[in-house]
Amino acid sequence: MIGGLFIYNHKGEVLISRVYRDDIGRNAVDAFRVNVIHARQQVRSPVTNIARTSFFHVKRSNIWLAAVTKQNVNAAMVFEFLYKMCDVMTAYFGKISEENIKNNFVLIYELLDEILDFGYPQNSETGALKTFITQQGIKGQVSEFSLTKEEQSQITSQVTGQIGWRREGIKYRRNELFLDVLESVNLLMSPQGQVLSAHVSGRVVMKSYLSGMPECKFGMNDKIVIDKQGKGATTEDAGKSGKQSIAIDDCTFHQCVRLSKFDSERSISFIPPDGEYELMRYRTTKDIILPFRVIPLVREVGRTKLEVKVVIKSNFKPSLLAQKIEVRIPTPLNTSGVQVICMKGKAKYKASENAIVWKIKRMAGMKESQISAEIELLPTNDKKKWARPPISMNFEVPFAPSGLKVRYLKVFESKLNYSDHDVIKWVRYIGRSGIYETRC
């Protein structure tokens, strides 16, 4: 299991050092600093073995988190734990920075004591942790000593219990929930416009402000469910719904979702955590609506000039508006000057980023826009060819490129006197660009 956990700043100074196992000595802290942080080269692996000691690390801004072990641990678990650790810290004190870590080091030690016992990860749900590990100064000095016996056992049963993510007795005057379907559409297209790979990775994020211990059921236009229902319905219905359903390649759920029920009935039922959390993640690869098409044209004119023309076409309903459109056209390292002409938006050559950045605030569907640029190059005797990185694009569209639709979200709370109809529900779809690249 995990033998120790260290947090370093970018210089390699230790900010937090917690050793869980006897086989990890103080020298391990230095070994990682010397061999990885000070190595001054690109990280070639997130797992490093130094003198029979394995170091797992992740980096958040310029902070290094490293887990150390001498055993054959579950590597996936260690990384998942490090990410979780980052989530917990962020939930407690915001951004992970040297300053914040130094300011909260007592809290961090307290957390590390609670969520990692002898190197075994324990309950690390922030919702549960916040009930008994509190950040002084914000929530005030709430010590467990002031809790009643009931409160104490409530805490322990929540931390160890089946529904470790939600506490009892939550009350809201207005029962309300917000559903965000957030998708990022990824594309890799060849210069000839052939789709090399495309997939949507989506998340359903829920903000729930519901009283009691509500039982929820979530439904979407999942092809498997629709087809199953379609069998009983008339052919017309089946045809209609068949068109709208989507094939989900795979999905994963927050631990509140009953997986065995999903496996047998494909229904998504759960008792939600309070507040914001990610209900599910999914991935689709079929029938993806690609909101934009990028058509690049790069011509090398002699050794010192490059002509670039890029056309973008929007491919969705004309009534919808895409926002925050940004096209990034890479330029060679030896660029000396760039002249740009674009029909719409603003374009700038950013020497520090080696790219022409073309920004358009809004663009309706079924439109087309174009940019052309002349790039002057310095003559070099560098033999290495310019790698021609792909043209990348960012945007945001108000629909789900996968075609996913929320069909329902039902809330049942038998003990309290509110029904599904009393809950105010909001649904929003946002499609963003993931890695949306066209080779040129």
């Binding site: 299991m1 230790v14 900010l15 869980y20 006897d22 086989d23 990280v43 070639r44 997130p46 797992v47 073995n49 029979r52 394995s54 690390h57 001498k70 055993q71 054959n72 590597a75 996936a76 678990m77 990384f79 998942e80 130094k102 300011n103 080091f105 007592v106 030690y109 004591d113 016992d117 002898f118 075994y120 008994f132 467990e144 000593f145 104490q152 056992s153 322990t156 160890t160 219990g161 090399l196 390649d249 795979d250 999905c251 994963t252 759920f253 631990q255 997986l259 065995s260 999903f262 990610e278 599910m280 993640r281 991935r283 033999k383 290495k384 060819k385 790698a387 990185p389 890695i435 690249e437």
Partner: protein, 989 residues
């Protein structure tokens, strides 16, 4: 409120000040002081001197302060064991606290203090806590047992904690179960033989129930533990799999990977024909793909594991190639792993896409990645034969970029492509040679040298190229030196006349001027070999190489099985067994997959499949390694009988080589020229034995009259010209430069006289191009120096290159069979033709054919197998000692019943009897006697077939009459017709 100030105190009297603050009466001040101590501890300062003062702060009702003090204790108790005892009372008291959080904290901390005295006091509170009413305390106590076991294993056993821990597996709280499982698993690991984790169907059922309810981490502990269980039968296996599969949808990647581990392991037990087996396979792919959208570090872990899974069960991800395409922003470690998996998944179906991607990658920036991409192109060529051509042209494009490391990497892989597809892509050699100067890495230099040596006969200036490398011989790495030595020896064996100096130079560099024992030994071996027996040298150095395997970098099957049992863990990331990186006794147990014996698993599983592929005997045309090895071990340095005598060309050259060495290398004792060259056994047969035929000998009664045999023989004009004309009958393929070294051969050959003017029928078309996808074979059978040869011209009339020629005969009347493989070493390009001489033996299987001299032949090349039949002149089978003694002749003639006599007419033949006799003799038809009867010459002749059948003939030649009459007598009258046809053919030509 900022705590960061605690990190900034660097004053000198710090410890002293802290001491004062710790003993302050004010709670706040105390707490501040402890925080400062912890901060100093974190950055590595030694604050152990404050031990008593900090411990004094322990007695507090402020939980935050208590926790800080505990943290300090855990760090320093070991260095201050005597003082640590001061804390015991507080711990024991806290274990009784009404607040479960305090109880748990106390027992958790006590377990972390590795001081014997504390441990002793821990036992009682721990026993209580294991049975505490609060699950939070129980789950903490469960882990504490593992802690205690790490400090004092004996104590844990003596106190009976292990049994209590086992009971916790049945606890009502899932988290307690999970922690108990984790603790037990760890303890069990250090007691490999204990039955500690007594997994039986009941406990498994409990674990599976807890699996649905506990935290994500607990699920990992339980799944990892389940993976160690061996189900009793396939039904149990299936039911566990069914209950584990829902975990594949968990958001936590570690849960998914651990579930994959359980499924991969238990699948081995399932019968392949089960529907569920197929369902399970299908269910595994999507979650594995989903892992690739996790954070990069997890992607890396996932990819390392997928690499294993793909090797074990390639069918799972065979359609998912695209998800492994490299993204521009992937970290380098993800890119490299993806590339590895892409190659493993490459197949004919997706090769076009893969190649396009690889070409893209080869232009990226990261040197390692680009190299790997180039290497991947080569591996694709080797793996997917249909793509080889495109891969080669892609590699050539890349070589044209002149980027140094790309060129070098490309050359290294092209070498492998040459090995895999011999004689197919040699046209690219010229391009490779152009880049000779830019090679600065040993591996690339060695590869290039190998290519030059291997194809020395195609590269005009091979000697110059190798010589240029030789100049800096001592600066080269061992790899290059060894390769250079071998290449030059190869070159010498191929072009002996021009490269004698070079080979001497390299041999002396390797043997005399080098300190490297490997190099010196190899040098000596070559030297001895060349001087002792060049034939053997050739057999050894230029031997056929076994084909290289398609898959490279495969993990050895037993290791792979072990690693599959460790999916998700560090072992699967390092691709090493745990024992390779874990110290001590822990983790040295080797886990194995347990397959279902009855399911035929091993036959279908990919690892055994690939193992079989590796050991599979190469196609029959290539002598397997075993054969070659056997021959070497027999130390029979004459060519092995299985391959038969090589065609004369090679033996001639070898003799030349021998002469050169004998004279040139004084340091070794000159070895006398061996005469038992392949032809030698046949040589005596060829020589006529004149003493047998005395002119005074009188024939038997009915052939009365003296016969002047001696004169016939001596005056044979063919014999006279035999010496000088010998080279003219040598095959045209004899290249001029070699002839200088051939004199010895001709001395031997000339002594017995090569028959001149022997009847050589013209080549006829045996296999028309129409029938053989463009391969045309014309050929003729000849008997030269006692060796029957099939001389063929292979003509490629197709558009593609032909390689891998091989030949086989059907059973035939006289047991003709190839005496060696068809020696066509170079690929046959479009519109090229090549001459080949195949020596034949007559020891093959026999079956009577109709007509008797019919031969059915199968020829194979890289395109297909083709069949044709041809008829050989029976004179091929007439042996050189077919001359019967006269008495025997007479007796035999009488002895053979008259029924067996056959008479034929040969029309329009204008030769006189002497000329006819000479002509026939060249076909091993020997005239025993001649007499004149009533104006016509009677020639009595005999011939013997390879299978020992004698044919006797009486040829009547009437002066002025162009029609001859021939009577044949033979015990096997079937051959008469053939023999007659042969007479006719010989005499009329």
């Amino acid at each position: 409120m900022t705590d960061s100030k605690y990190f900034t105190t660097t004053k000198k009297g710090e410890i002293f000040e802290l001491k004062a603050e710790l003993n302050s009466d004010k709670k706040e001040k105390k707490k501040e002081a402890v925080k400062k101590v912890i901060a100093s501890m974190t950055v590595g300062k030694d604050v152990s001197a404050l031990f008593p003062d900090v411990v004094n702060c322990m007695q507090t009702d402020n939980l935050e302060l208590k926790k800080l003090v505990y943290l300090y204790l855990m760090n320093y108790a070991k260095s201050q064991p005597d003082m640590a005892i001061m804390a015991v009372n507080t711990f024991v008291k806290d274990c009784e606290d009404p607040n479960p959080l305090i109880r748990a904290l106390a027992v958790r901390t006590m377990g972390c203090i590795r001081v014997d005295k504390i441990t002793e006091y821990l036992c009682e509170p721990l026993r209580k806590c294991l049975k505490d009413e609060d699950p939070y305390v129980r789950k903490t106590a469960a882990v504490c047992v593992a802690k205690l076991h790490d400090i004092n294993a004996q104590l844990v056993e003596d106190q009976g904690f292990l049994d209590t821990l086992k009971d916790l597996i049945s606890d009502s709280n899932p988290m307690v179960v999970a922690n108990a499982v984790a603790a037990l698993s760890e303890i069990a690991e250090s007691h490999p033989n204990s039955n500690l984790l007594d997994l039986n169907p009941q406990t498994i059922n409990k674990l599976l129930t807890a699996l649905n309810e506990c935290t994500e981490w607990g699920q990992i502990f339980i799944l990892d533990c389940l993976a160690n269980y061996t189900p009793r039968d396939d039904r149990e296996s299936q039911s566990i799999c069914e209950r584990v599969t829902p975990r594949l949808s968990h958001a936590n990647s570690a849960v998914v990977l651990s579930a994959v581990k359980v499924l991969m392991k238990f699948m081995e037990m399932l019968p392949k024909d089960l529907d569920y087996y197929g369902t399970l396979l299908k269910k595994l792919a999507p979650p594995l793909v989903t892992l690739l959208s996790a954070e990069p570090e997890l992607q890396y872990v996932a990819l390392r594991n997928i690499n294993l899974i793909v090797q074990r069960r390639p069918e799972i991800l065979k359609h998912e190639m695209k998800v492994f395409f490299v993204k521009y922003n992937d970290p380098i470690y993800v890119k490299l792993e993806k590339l590895d998996i892409m190659i493993r998944l490459a197949s004919q179906a997706n090769i076009a896409q893969v190649l396009a991607e690889l070409k893209e990658y080869a232009t990226e920036v990261d040197v390692d990645f680009v190299r790997k991409a180039v290497r991947a192109i080569g591996r694709c060529a080797i793996k997917v034969e249909q793509s080889a051509e495109r891969c080669v042209s892609t590699l050539l494009d890349l070589i044209q970029t002149k980027v140094n490391y790309v060129v070098q990497e490309a050359i290294v892989v092209i070498k492998d492509i040459f090995r895999k597809y011999p004689n197919k892509y040699e046209s690219v050699i010229a391009t490779l040679c152009e880049n000779l100067d830019s090679l600065d890495e040993p591996e690339a230099r060695a590869a290039m040298i190998w290519i030059v040596g291997e194809y020395a006969e195609r590269i005009d200036n091979a000697d110059e190229l190798l010589e240029s490398f030789l100049e800096g011989f001592h600066d080269e790495s061992t790899q290059v030196q060894l390769q250079l030595l071998t290449a030059i020896v190869k070159l010498f064996l191929k072009k002996p006349t021009e490269t004698q100096e070079l080979v001497q130079q390299v041999l002396s560099l390797a043997t005399q001027d080098s300190d490297n024992p490997d190099l010196r030994d190899r040098g000596y071996i070559y030297w001895r070999l060349l001087s002792t027996d060049p034939v053997a040298a050739k057999e050894v150095v230029l031997a056929e190489k076994p084909l290289i395997s398609e898959e490279t970098d495969l993990i050895e099957p037993t290791l792979l099985e072990e690693l599959i049992c460790h999916i998700g863990t560090l072992a699967s990331v390092y691709h090493k067994p745990p024992s390779a990186f874990v110290e001590g006794s822990r983790g040295v147990q080797h886990k194995r997959l347990t397959g279902n014996a009855g399911s035929g698993e091993s036959v279908e599983s990919p690892d055994t499949g690939s193992a079989a592929g590796a050991t599979e005997a190469p196609p029959a045309v290539i002598p397997s390694q075993g054969d070659l090895l056997g021959d070497l071990l027999n130390l029979d340095l004459t060519p092995p009988t299985t391959t038969g005598p090589p065609p004369p060309i090679s033996s001639g050259m070898q003799m030349g080589a021998m002469d050169l060495l004998g004279g040139g290398l004084d340091s070794l004792p000159p070895i006398p020229l061996r005469t038992d060259t392949p032809q030698s056994p046949q040589l005596p047969h060829q020589s006529p034995s004149p003493p047998d035929y005395s002119p005074t000998e009188v024939g038997p009664g009915d052939h009365a009259g003296p016969v002047k045999l001696g004169g016939d023989l001596g005056g044979n004009p063919a014999m006279g010209t035999g010496f000088g004309g010998a080279p003219a009958v040598m095959p045209a393929s004899f290249s001029a430069p070699v002839s200088g070294g051939l004199d010895d051969l001709f001395d031997l050959g000339g002594g017995v006289g090569l028959p001149m003017g022997a009847y050589n029928p013209p080549k006829t078309v045996w296999l028309p191009a129409m029938k053989a996808k463009g391969l045309e074979i014309t050929g003729v059978f000849v008997r030269r120096a006692g060796v029957i040869q099939m001389e063929m011209t292979l003509n490629n009339k197709a558009m593609s290159v032909m390689t891998d020629f091989a030949i086989q005969f059907n059973r035939n009347s006289f047991g003709l069979a190839p005496a060696g493989p068809l020696q066509i070493l170079t690929p046959l390009g479009p519109n090229q033709s090549i001459e080949a001489a195949l020596p034949l033996s007559t020891v093959g299987p026999v079956m009577k054919m109709e007509p008797l001299n019919n031969l059915q032949v199968a020829v194979k090349n890289n395109i297909d197998v083709f069949y044709f039949s041809c008829q050989y002149p029976i004179s091929m089978l007439f042996v050189e000692d077919g001359k019967m003694e006269r008495q025997v002749f007479l007796a035999t003639w009488k002895d053979i019943p008259n029924d067996n006599e056959a008479q034929f007419q040969i029309k329009d033949c204008h030769l006189n009897s002497d000329a006819a006799s000479n002509k026939l003799q060249s076909s091993n038809i020997f005239t025993i006697a001649k007499r004149k009867v009533e104006g016509q010459d009677m020639l009595y002749q005999s011939m013997k077939l390879t299978n020992g059948i004698w044919v006797l003939a009486e040829l009547r030649v009437q002066t002025g009459n162009p029609n001859y009459t021939i009577s044949l007598k033979c015990r096997a009258p079937e051959v008469s017709q053939c023999v007659f046809q042969n007479y006719e053919a010989v005499l009329k030509n």
